[in-house]
Symmetry: C2
Subunit: 223 residues, 2 copies
DNA sequence: TAGATTGTTAATCGATTAACAATC
DNA sequence: TAGATTGTTAATCGATTAACAATC
């Protein structure tokens, strides 16, 4: 495994990497050795130049007139994202969102391995969540250190978010995938990525408002 | 209700609107009549100038030296997003992610009202999902038209995504909140907003890789 | 060779940030 | 009045897109 070090890439570029991986994996299934930036762009409705610029980040050389070596590109992208060796993560909160995440098989492709869940509710502790054991929050410090887990997936109710975060910090968690809508207070070296469902829905809503203003009735769809 | 029409705003601005709403609602609870852009910026770790620029979109005038009228601003933002009168939506797919969304009370604040779920699984049809009835996909056309629902929240497995989308289109759904990782094929007038969990996790992962490269041991956290 | 595609350098575009007069 | 803040106009920054020589 050639463990290259990469420069940090622009966030929009990183956000497109999983899409590229999808396309590349499908190409692999079809036994394609090379794929052009043009083709990738077509499948994802992007511009070819953008694909080339993005892929340049991971340093896999393409062949003019031919395209990029698929397998190498998959390797490099996975490497860049640290998805190659499977990263263990804890679910913090064992509610229904946690259950959905625990049961999501697609994470395997993203090198995400959810190993356990934690909750304060005694009714949940000791039970299972989609096959993952649910521990008491009291054991978080101990288990984090024993299992060397770096990532916490935060799915507790908003009201409990900061408290749970503080416990993760004490346990030595380094990165938090935050599904609450709370702006977490953490020291600068801790990585927080917020999944803002509300932001996503806001974009949808505002576009729908605009569309309904211009065309309130259903039409344009073949019937 | 003064139903103003607004110009479309930049997407990054729209994505911040729910955050502003959060801060403003908390200010309302504290009985504050006015709030300055500076204060909003502080709470959200943004630049004051960005807050002012963003808020300018909804056309609520602030008072120099004082700030913006909180209640008016909440109204205007809700209005802009179409969140004022509650929008009905269908869940397409009744799996565990659908369950999580159906049980999420925060949507009330976003004017999102999930009224029913649909699934192809006969074992689920006729049952309930967090108090919402589960119907057969065969009834989607009929119920969409009867209830004038415009929004579909797509939570089916990737393999079923396009098929389910086609049925939504036939039923007259105008906007799709897409939780699958499939790039949906839809006519241009249909609004699709993709919740790309993989993209979000990619950003987290790549930052963690960088951080671990620079500092592999736990430190910097007070113990 | 002709056609397709890469990768570099430069141009454009859009969003963020700065500066500052006007105003409460 | 002094201090804080708005809202406008201009500057900066970063990402996307264009142009094109090099190459398979």
């Amino acid at each position: 495994m050639p463990k290259t070090t990469y420069m940090p890439a622009p966030t929009p570029t990183v956000r497109r990497f999983p899409e590229y991986l999808d396309v590349l994996r499908r190409a692999l299934l079809r036994d394609r050795e090379f794929i052009s930036g043009t083709r990738i762009a077509n499948e994802l409705k992007l511009e070819p130049i953008q694909v080339r610029k993005d892929l340049a980040v991971v340093g896999v050389a393409g062949r003019p007139g031919v395209g990029f070596p698929v397998r190498e590109l998959v390797e490099a992208l996975m490497d860049f994202l640290g998805w190659n060796n499977g990263t263990d993560a804890f679910l913090i909160g064992a509610g229904s969102l946690a259950a959905a995440l625990a049961g999501f098989h697609g994470f395997k492709q993203h090198g995400l391995n959810i190993v356990a869940a934690f909750d304060v509710d005694p009714a949940k502790v000791g039970g299972q969540l989609k096959g993952k054991e649910v521990f008491s929050m009291n054991h978080l410090v101990e288990l984090t250190q024993r299992m060397h887990v770096h990532i916490g997936v935060l799915t507790v109710p908003d009201a409990a978010a900061q408290e749970a975060t503080d416990q993760m910090l004490k346990a030595g968690i380094r990165a938090i995938w935050n599904f609450t809508s709370v702006k977490l207070n953490v020291p600068p070296q801790i990585i927080v990525e917020n999944v803002q469902l509300a932001s996503s829905f806001a974009v949808l809503s505002s576009r729908l408002v605009q569309a309904l203003q211009q065309n309130p009735r259903q039409d344009g769809v073949e019937q």
